[in-house]
Amino acid sequence: MTAVTLTRTPAVAGPAPRRRRARAAAARVGGGLAVLVPIVFLSTFITYSLGALSNSNPAATILGQDAATPAAVAKLDRTLGLDHPLIVQYWHWLTQAVQGNLGQSWFTQIPVAQSIAQRLPVDLSIASLAVVLAVLIGGTAGMVAAVRRGGWFDRGVTLACSAVSTLPAFVVGIILVVLFAVTVHLLPANGYVGPATSIPQWLKYIILPSLALSLQVAADIARQLRTSLVSVLERNYIVGAKVRGLPYRRVLVRHALRNAAGPALVVLGNDFPQMLAGAVAAEAVFSLPGLGQLLLESAQTRDIPVVQGLLLVISTFVIVVNLIVNTTLNWLYRTDDGLLA
């Protein structure tokens, strides 16, 4: 097994096995979709049922106190389709949602899809930068810790990881504000500028929230990478590569890291879907105009369509990203190398 790993890395493969693998991958995606369909229906149904749970009277809310005569309420109920059974309403809502129509706010009449589209870039910016930071920080820390195993850096990383894992993102965010915004005035404590206006300004505003969001994931990655890298570095093929006189850096990156990255990637894949939701925490601390703020505002006014739309978007995001991550991981580690079998 070791010899195989040495001579043929997973990326090198002939055309015939590649076709076979493509078919296997397609089958796996198909199987995944079969499980996915009931999940999508259940989770969207839960989301939609929130409105029914709320026993609020949408027609009366929309009309306002003066105009809400029983006749007017009944008429609006009919136009909104609220006189149908819940399951019919749900189906109508879902088919509309698939076409990009999430209804409109009860109070501002602004289409829900429009307000979500307006806010989504904020959270996507934070979440994607957080992923980059998590990989950079966690990857570097884990790799150096594994190479310098038992040294002060290694112990420092272990300590920092356990400290970070007890700190929720919003507390980390506050600490960062105190350190970088209040004490040294290096970065802004709140606010947001879109990347279209100015890329450096945009980075300046999202770097602290992203950092707050990334640390926990970075700690997870560092821990996983350290553990698997330590065990890989002891394998025969690493010793063999060193004996053949390959430069250490090359052995570390091409031979060891490539085989040790699996568990860390799984951790990242598992954490990633939750990051968009976690961006809410960062938003709250840095008062960014994102989805979280929209959710809090609409929850306060009990603007049910907006709340339903937000939940739908977030859970769809989680489902889709999960599917992509799982498929990618399966594809990356399709050979049985004993790490991710």
Partner: protein, 307 residues
């Protein structure tokens, strides 16, 4: 995961106490203090947590105010002590809901056949796609703004975690030879669950409960930080953090106090979970030795969320 743990525990003496490691002892000590504060904190607070003192704003720690005062001159120590009860009790509320909704079907699914198993797993998967804080805030929009209402959905979303752990552990034990032997001897399902399964699944449930309590506590802190479910003068851990954040320029050190309190409590719960895990794997290893490991279970556990 599972395989590694059992492997690492192989050299360890079996069945030692949870309190064997020093970190577990410290954790239990911290949690005892928190439990004490939950019950008596509001009574023992040195000062009235709501008393406003205009002459004493943003004071640092002193003999009179051990942890300083806030933006209204209120004693921070008293507010933290008085706020412990709501934070801890609502966290326990969520864990209780998750425990019942997760473990009962988790054990039942093994004995109720494939269809129930498939349905229960899909429900768990669906719940896992809903982000807990988002969902909790959304439910307060539907049910009204209250911390008790907000923690019900958090509890429901903790259930899949309990469900998966319990199901995997139950599967492992339900396929053991001694269960087969008991069935052949004519034992009823209820007897098998009670005597052969429940007792052995308990360590796994204990581990999950400890780490889920940590998660629930974080959720409570964050929800109260967002201002969900509490009216302003009432003290909560997250609420104190949130008001500290608004006055950072006057008192930049202030958020570290509630932040540290949350971190220490969560850290203690995580350490306790680790202690349970060490003890549990040491114990079950010996019990499981003659049994052929069901490979499918381990793999299923390992493949993440939606798969």
């Amino acid at each position: 995961m599972k395989r590694q743990e059992t492997g690492s525990a192989a050299g360890r003496p079996r069945g030692h106490s949870v309190l064997a490691s020093p970190s577990a002892r410290i954790a239990v000590g911290i949690l005892a203090v928190i439990a004490f504060l939950t019950i008596f904190g509001a009574m023992l607070a040195p000062q009235n947590p709501l008393a406003i003192n205009a002459g004493q704003l943003f004071k640092g720690p002193s003999a009179q105010h051990l942890l300083g005062t806030d933006y209204l001159g209120r004693d921070v120590l008293s507010r933290l002590m008085a706020g412990t009860r709501l934070s801890v009790l609502t966290a326990l509320e969520a864990v209780g809901i998750g425990l019942v909704l997760g473990t009962v079907p988790g054990i039942a699914t093994v004995f109720l056949g494939r269809w129930f198993d498939f349905a229960a797993n899909r429900v768990a998967d669906a719940l896992m796609t809903l982000p807990s804080i988002f969902f909790a805030v959304a439910v307060t929009a539907a049910l009204g703004n209250g911390l008790v209402q907000a923690m019900v959905p958090v509890g429901i979303l903790l259930a899949p975690g309990f469900f998966r752990v319990t199901r995997a552990a139950t599967l492992e034990h339900a396929r053991a030879q001694y269960v087969e032997a008991a069935t052949l001897l004519g034992a009823s399902k209820a007897h098998i669950i009670r005597v052969h399964v429940l007792r052995k699944v308990l360590p796994n449930i204990a581990v999950t409960t400890a780490s889920m309590t940590a998660a629930a506590l974080l959720a409570v802190s964050f929800l109260t930080f967002l201002g969900i479910g509490v009216q302003p003068p009432a003290p909560t851990w997250g609420g104190i953090l949130s008001s500290d954040l608004a006055y950072l320029s006057q008192a930049p050190w202030a958020p570290f106090i509630p932040g540290l309190l949350i971190a220490v409590t969560v850290g203690a719960l995580n350490a306790l979970a680790d202690a349970f895990r060490d003890r549990g794997s040491a114990g079950t290893l010996v019990l499981l030795e003659p049994v052929t490991e069901p490979e499918g279970v381990v793999d299923e556990q390992r493949s993440p969320a939606v798969a």
